[in-house]
Structure formats: C-alpha cells, structure tokens
Symmetry: C2
C-alpha cells in the first residue's frame, strides 16, 4: 500500500497506482468502453465524431508558480471543449496524455484530475475523461483530445460567413488577457521570474480577471445552440478577436466589420486578448440571435483588410505573435 498522505513523487510509484489515483477522481465512465483497455469506445450516435487536440506545455503555456494543478486540469479541458463547441457539437469524451517529470508529486496528478473533472461538470455535463496515457518527460506537458457529437447538425465551419451576416460573440473578451497582465505585473520577482500568486493583494476585479486566465469558462453549451439558430460560421477566440476574426474572414472570403462600442470599456483587451475562448459566430441578418450571443458587428464584402474596427484597420498594437500570425490555419 502506498500512503497517499505522504504525497510521494510519481517516480516512486507504480504506474498502476498513479492511474488508480486519477481514475478514482474522475467518477463513473459514460463511455461504451471506458478507461482500462487498449482504447475507449465512445458513442457517436449520428455516425460522425468531432475530434480536436490542444496541448499545454510548461514554460510557453503556463508557469507552475501561477497555475495550480487544478487550474491546469481545468484549463486544458476548457480550451478543447471550446473547440468542440465551436463546431456546433456537444463534447462527449476527453483523452488526456500527461507527460511529467518523475519528481512530480502525486498530489499534483490528483489535483489535475480534479480540475479536468470540474471543467467537464461545469462546462460540458456528460463529458468525461475516458482514456489517456502517462509518460515520463523533463517537461510537464498536457495534451487533451476532445471528442464531440453533432446530433444530426451540420458542422459549423469557419468558411460559411456571407456579406450581410451579423457578427456576434458569446462569452468573455479580454478578461483572460487582463488576468495575464496581473500575473506579469504583480507576481514576478526582480528578474521577471514568476512568484506564487497571492490573491489577497488583488482587487475583486483583478481576481475575476485572474480566474479567467487560469480557469477560462467558455460558453460550451452555446455552440450547439448557435448551430441550431443557423450560425453560418463559428470558431473559438483563442488568440484574440482581431486575429481570429481575420482567420474566419480569410476562410470565408469576406471581411469582418467590428463596432468597438459593442466591446465594453477595455476595447483594446477585447480586440487583442486571447485565451478567453469566447465563441465568435456569424448569423443570417433576418433572425434573432440565440440567447447568450451579443452583436459586435457585421460581415462585409472582402476588402484589403480582413477586419475593420469602426470602419478602419485597427491602429493599436495587435499583440500578434509571429508564431501565431493571422494566416496560421487558413493559409
């Protein structure tokens, strides 16, 4: 017997013990075949399955001084659940490939499992971790695959927006970016290295922003509702509204005209901040928007600028990363 209260490292434990500790946290399987065999078997009732993968890597994507294991589990699930939702689908299962140093404590692994489960419970009830893989690595890496069901709907692609459509979003814009600024400005040492978060020094608004960065809560349930309401195109906003709207515009052969007065007080963060995983969608102009979506602009004929803000190219810093340029997915 291993005494979990002693919080051993994973290098001291048998893989079976680690797996059991994870599975004990995840609750009952919802799958036709859940964890424990060579593969899981997941229902895909309408004969199609939506599938996506996204990875969080220690260093580029998170710092352990800032994110708890629970936060990382929550975020790694949330970002993938949002991708499924953005197709108009309902998440059905996650597979988690966890690569971690042998010095990782068991409490980290169980905390991560708790965060994964909480994200599923809060954002996508019925979805669960149904499989995965544990490996040793010098770099803590969490690759989550999410599967989803369209329930007879046509998938909503990035390429279907037409001039005249309404542009709308559901969920937060810019809050996670403000939370990231809180981390960099308040919780680094003199050498700019991350130091542990102390929430007691933050205002309520800062705490909310920080929560949005560490544990984003995209409106997963609204993806299928948008599809049912006739969304012509949809994607999740992972790299900022300007950048992601540019991708949607390029895929659809249109331009997107945004009305900055619809973006709240912190327009710059709303336009350039990523990681909230809001849903960006376009709808035919002649129908009411589904509950949870708000109008932020309209689709116009393609012009030299994929995105216009109040009728002109955005003049502020876009925050675009050369590794994440606007043509990243659409060529």
């Amino acid at each position: 017997m291993v005494d979990e209260h002693a919080d051993p490292t994973v290098g001291e434990l048998r893989e079976g013990v680690i797996l059991r500790s994870i599975l004990d946290r995840l609750g009952e399987s919802n799958a036709l075949v859940g964890p424990g065999d060579d593969a899981a078997v997941i229902a895909a009732a309408d004969g199609r399955v939506v599938a996506t993968v996204d990875t969080l890597v220690h260093g580029p994507d998170f710092r352990l001084a800032w994110s708890s294991a629970y936060d990382l589990g929550y975020k790694s699930a949330a970002v993938n659940l949002a991708d499924v939702a953005a197709m108009g689908a309902t998440p059905t299962a996650l597979l988690v490939a966890l690569a971690m140093p042998e010095s990782t404590h068991l409490s980290f692994v169980t905390g991560l499992a708790d965060g994964l489960r909480a994200a599923c419970r809060e954002l996508a009830p019925g979805c669960r971790v149904e499989g995965g893989d544990l490996t040793v690595s010098d770099t803590l890496t969490i690759a989550v695959t999410a599967l989803g069901a369209l329930a007879g709907r046509a998938p909503v692609l990035r390429s279907g927006a037409r001039a005249g459509d309404v542009v709308a979003v559901a969920g937060e814009l810019g809050r996670a970016a403000r939370g990231l600024r809180v981390l960099f400005e308040r919780f680094t040492d003199a050498a700019d290295a991350p130091v542990p978060v102390d929430e007691s020094v933050l205002s309520p608004a800062e705490r909310d922003d920080l929560a949005a960065q560490l544990r984003p809560a995209p409106p997963v349930a609204l993806g299928p509702l948008a599809a049912d309401a006739g969304a012509t195109a949809m994607m999740d906003v992972s790299d900022g509204l300007l950048l992601d709207a540019s991708r949607l515009a390029a895929a659809s052969g249109v331009s997107v005209a945004i009305d900055s007065t619809a973006l709240g007080d912190d327009t710059h963060s709303a336009l350039t901040g990523g990681e909230d995983h809001a849903l960006l969608a376009t709808f035919p102009p002649d129908r009411p928007l589904p509950a949870g979506f708000r109008r932020i602009g309209r689709v116009v004929a393609r012009s030299a600028d994929p995105v216009l803000v109040d009728g002109a190219p955005y003049a502020g810093r876009t925050g675009w990363d050369p590794y994440r340029d606007w043509d990243a997915r659409t060529g």
Copy 2:
C-alpha cells in the same frame, strides 16, 4: 516566401508555414471535415468511435541519435494504430500533437509527416492525419490520438478470455527488443551516450531487428479479422508477452499457459521484449484460427500465477519496470 531548401528552424517560421509544410506531405483528407477548422469531423458509421492516445517523449522513449524524424512519425502512428486494432477496429483518423523546441528544423517536421503518412499507408490504408496541434517545448514530444471504426462489431476487450480458449498471437515477438539491444550495444560511446546508427556495420538479421525497433509494423488489419473470427479477448503486446498476458489474465480472471516451443529460438526476447505491438488474442477452442495468428498456448483456470510458461512461472528476468508493472492497467 520561405526557402525550404535552406531548412530553417521552426522558431524562424510562422506557424502557418509550418502547418502548410506538414499538410502538403499528408495528402488528401479522408474526413468529413479535415485539418484547418477548430476540430475535424470523422465518420463513425455504426454510431461508435474507438479512441486512444499514446505519447513518445524524447529521452525516455527515443533518442534523436538513433531515430530519424521519419522513424518517429512511423512509430508514433504504429503504436496507436495497434491499440485501435486490438479492439477489433479499423483506424480511421489520427490527430497529432507535436511539441518541439524552436531549434527544430523544418526538415524534421516534414520527415515526421512523411513517417506518419507511410505508417498509415502501409498499416492502415484509409487512415490519415486529420488534425493536430503545434506547440513550443524544451522536450520534443509526439502525442498521437487514433480513432477507429468497429463496423458493427462488438469491441474485443481484455476481459473476455475463458478457460479452454486458445491463446494466439499475430505479428513479431521479441524482434524490437533485440533491435533495442543492437542500439545500446553497438551505438553508444564510452560514456553510454547514443551515437548515430551506421547500418553498414550490421548483419542482415541485426538490420531487421533494428527496423522492428525503429519502425514497428504491427498487424493492424488482423485486429478486425480476429474480432470477426470470434476472439474472446485481445490486446496489443507493448510491454512484453509475459507482462501483457498477465494483464489480460487479470482482466479476464484466468491464467494463461504459454508453450515456449511456439515462440521460436529466442524465447527470452519473445517473452519479455516489448514494442513489437503484436496482437495477443484468445479464441474459442472449437474454431480455426484466423489467417496470420499462430497458437502459443491456452487459457486455464486462474491460479496463483497469471502466466505459466511450460507449466511453471517464468524463471528468467522479466524485464518488468516498476513504472510498467503487470497491474498497471487492470489494477
């Protein structure tokens, strides 16, 4: 325009350029929605999808001095295709999460894509990389998710073996382990660090063993055939026959009696060597084995030893790793 002939590093390139280089190597999508949107949409005609993930990490799982990019692409696909086959399913799609240092050259990425495509073409025609994720990491990490279709079959679990069943395998046993020994014995320097492989110094048999280690070719097409032939239990042999047969025995509540005379000349490697990803299956005794499977023993009533070799517990070194102990998956 980026001059690919100059072989830039991925840190010098936009993500869109890297993605395009990969997609150009992968050929046409077979999916309902292929790469380029928030998620792929894959056919799952009988209303179920088989799903599994396995990760290769630089250091624990491979050395770049020994494995080419092509080898890594091939192997990372093959190990996951084998898991799908072991359920009795046919692979339909792969998702590839690739985390790599910014110093990685573009030629590495395209070589990896070539290996992924070759493994699909040779082992699972119709299966393709239909999605993925690129991230920066200090540690080169390849997490592959494989999806598969059962085409109306019941999935073949580890838990269905019954006393009296025939135990059979399809594919190699022990060859990849011999290939690993070739690497450690012939291609390390005085400090036991890996040095580049020079195949010209090897015998033909050593070259074959090395190929089995670097580019395993599991009998993926035989998984569905085994299911159709009535296999009562099945799994792929990833950690060695003794260890994996113990898992199957534990899941089924039986013991497995192996006849060592069926294992060829190198009995020890066949019993303890992993990574060939042969298919281990049990069949009712009253039917002919499907083509490609050979009898290696029988299922007996559960005893104190989950696996017997020629009627007794195996006396040799098992090669079991505390991180990969026999109860790893089945508890």
